[in-house]
Subunit: 344 residues, 2 copies
């Protein structure tokens, strides 16, 4: 089977081709993708190393002394940030005319969420209540930026494993807040708006949730009280999985306590399934939520979701040049496979 | 230094941050990125294995018998194609309403350009005249699709090394022709048009060429009669390099013999520099040329270029979620570094 599928939300084509999965490789397998590549620690994110870190911004701990090693979770400034909170760094341009107006100082906030003091546990190995604390830390930080009008956009993401970009193996995620909205989220807002306008004021992801739970469960993976996981219709990566709230919500940071616990359980289950199925694979997840600012709060057409992307293969020149991904795994089959993975 | 730069052509933000380059990594170096990972052959792309391959579409050879092993270069059908030239593969949808109109049969052409019979030589190790034959093969194939109105878009690309996605190590490139235009090229067409409209009918890349050769050579790497190479203003990848024709041209496939030889020399030089500088690194290149069809021929605002992307690091969740890349190497410094690499 070969198909071109258009993602109405992300506004991009994906090529689904199950013939691709059978192609040979003559490269020696140099990259073991399992737990062995992880360093044995301790590292700068371990308790007792607080003074090697960027400044602490947020923490869940037993006592109430900053930088004390009795924490369960810490948000710290990234010590090697992509952007920085000081405004005065931009040198005079001297660029001439071509790129005159195309630069901004690298203003923003780049933070690391150290998810656990334990160097050896990965996120889904923590109790659900602890995973919920991680999600609440994301919420607290996004809410912080909601109150600072200099920020327009905040991307929360996780890199797990070297092939997924990670440089640190201690379980962590990151957040970058910027004064500009990314073009991916802009495209998603446009896609959601177009669907809404064309379909009698229906939200696209509400329709997807309804479809996958009531009409045809063909891409549904799991379901609990407040969330579903599914293989998206046009996934970029093999076994890509979306974690979607059942009730309409545009802003992840406004989600209540009960939903967050339900989400933590679903996230834990999903990541455990990937570990069981693919032997601790590298992956990313990215939180696709509305941009910052009142004008995006409680949007009727945009619906937030968490996009989980295992790295079982590397994209190549076709993806970089065209922006279209080739996916050798049919998502309906990926869903069936992941639905049936047993985790204890 | 940290900066946000907007690419006017590609319409995306890039974060340039030289602080990032200094961050530590606690992963064991599992992936050697050098020539050792390449298989010693022979493989299916070697002479004498023609019968293991997809159908031959184009070749440069001494004799004139198809599939004979006396070839210097062959274009063959990809045996495990992402898309296929037969139309009848799409099953009835049964998708319900949400994705009703979002799929096409996986129609298209997926071809492999086997660049040399030698399993051990990489593209820049071939004589310039041979590299020119490879470029002419690209032209011949694009011209073929120009004459078939079912095709709207053709992406030529190269994957070198496993981290850049390659599954075969024998030197090759690929081409995928599709019935839809990729959203990356659509964005570039829009970006070029906007610049043209705002700047008194100037082409953006003509302005860049003029700027880099006459005003301020700060991002210029090399220059010959018909081409320049430069570090783009807002590169996604460290040491990303654009190979740009000096004279305005929207369609790579219409470029004349003299220019192609000049391009071959420039491409060879650029890829040799990467090998010398980074020890045979993985990389991709992608040909960004106008979509197929008369309406895009000889466009005044779009200017084709070859985008060369070394893979010295792996993008992570931030790039996947936002579409914005973080680049730890300032392009003006990358250009200076590459300008000064000596190749014999
Ligand atoms: N002592 C300390 N205190 C505070 N912070 C510390 C620290 N030591 C290290 N850090 C920071 O911790 C972070 C660890 O992050 P990851 O391992 O998820 O990937 P990284 O950000 O390196 O880059 C990956 O993700 C980004 C974004 O997706 C991609 O650009 C990149 O190519 C990819 O490798 C780094 O950003 C590092 O700067
Ligand atoms: N005997 C034979 N005859 C004809 N063709 C043969 C053949 N044996 C193998 N092939 C084909 O040769 C091609 C070799 O291509 P590459 O090594 O450049 O990367 P590949 O296409 O595998 O995937 C990379 O590039 C694509 C596109 O960028 C990404 O989707 C993907 O993730 C990445 O690994 C494969 O497409 C394969 O199907």
């Amino acid at each position: 089977m070969a198909e071109l599928r258009h993602d109405l939300l992300r506004q991009r084509w994906v090529i689904i081709s199950d013939k691709r999965g059978k192609r040979p490789s003559d490269f020696k397998k140099v990259s073991s993708q399992n737990r062995d590549e992880f360093d044995s620690g301790p590292c700068a994110f371990c308790p007792g190393h607080e003074n090697e870190n960027g400044h602490e911004i947020y923490a869940v701990r037993d006592g109430d002394e900053d930088d004390a090693p009795d924490w369960h979770l810490r948000v710290i400034e990234n010590k090697y940030p992509a952007v920085s909170p000081s405004f005065d760094e931009l040198l005079p341009s001297g660029e001439g005319t071509v790129y005159g107006a195309c630069r901004l100082a690298g203003f923003g906030s780049h933070e690391v969420i150290v998810e656990t003091p334990s160097h050896h546990l990965s996120l889904p190995e923590l109790p659900s209540s602890h995973v919920a604390e991680v999600l609440k830390a994301y919420q607290a930080r996004i809410n912080h930026f909601q109150n600072d009008s200099r920020f327009k956009f905040c991307q929360v993401y996780k890199n797990r494993g070297n092939r997924a970009g990670a440089s640190m193996s201690h379980s962590h995620s990151q957040l970058i807040a910027l004064p500009v909205v990314s073009h991916n989220i802009q495209a998603e807002l446009r896609g959601a708006q177009e669907y809404y306008d064309k379909h009698d004021k229906q939200c696209i992801l509400c329709d997807v949730v309804r479809h996958e739970t009531q009409v045809n469960r063909i891409r549904l993976i799991d379901e609990n009280e407040h969330f579903i996981t599914l293989s998206p219709y046009a996934p970029m990566f093999p076994y890509e999985t979306w974690l979607v709230p059942k009730n309409h919500s545009s802003n992840f940071e406004t989600v209540g306590e009960a939903e967050i616990l339900s989400m933590a359980e679903m996230l834990k289950l999903t990541l455990r399934k990937l570990d069981v199925a693919f032997g601790y694979p590298p992956y990313n997840y990215t939180l696709q939520t509305a941009p910052l600012g009142k004008e995006h709060l409680n949007s009727a057409h945009f619906h937030w979701y968490l996009d989980i992307l295992p790295h079982l293969s590397s994209p190549g020149g076709f993806e970089l040049g065209s922006g279209c991904y080739i996916n050798p795994i049919v998502p309906e089959e990926a869903a069936k496979f992941l639905r049936n993975i047993e985790v204890q």
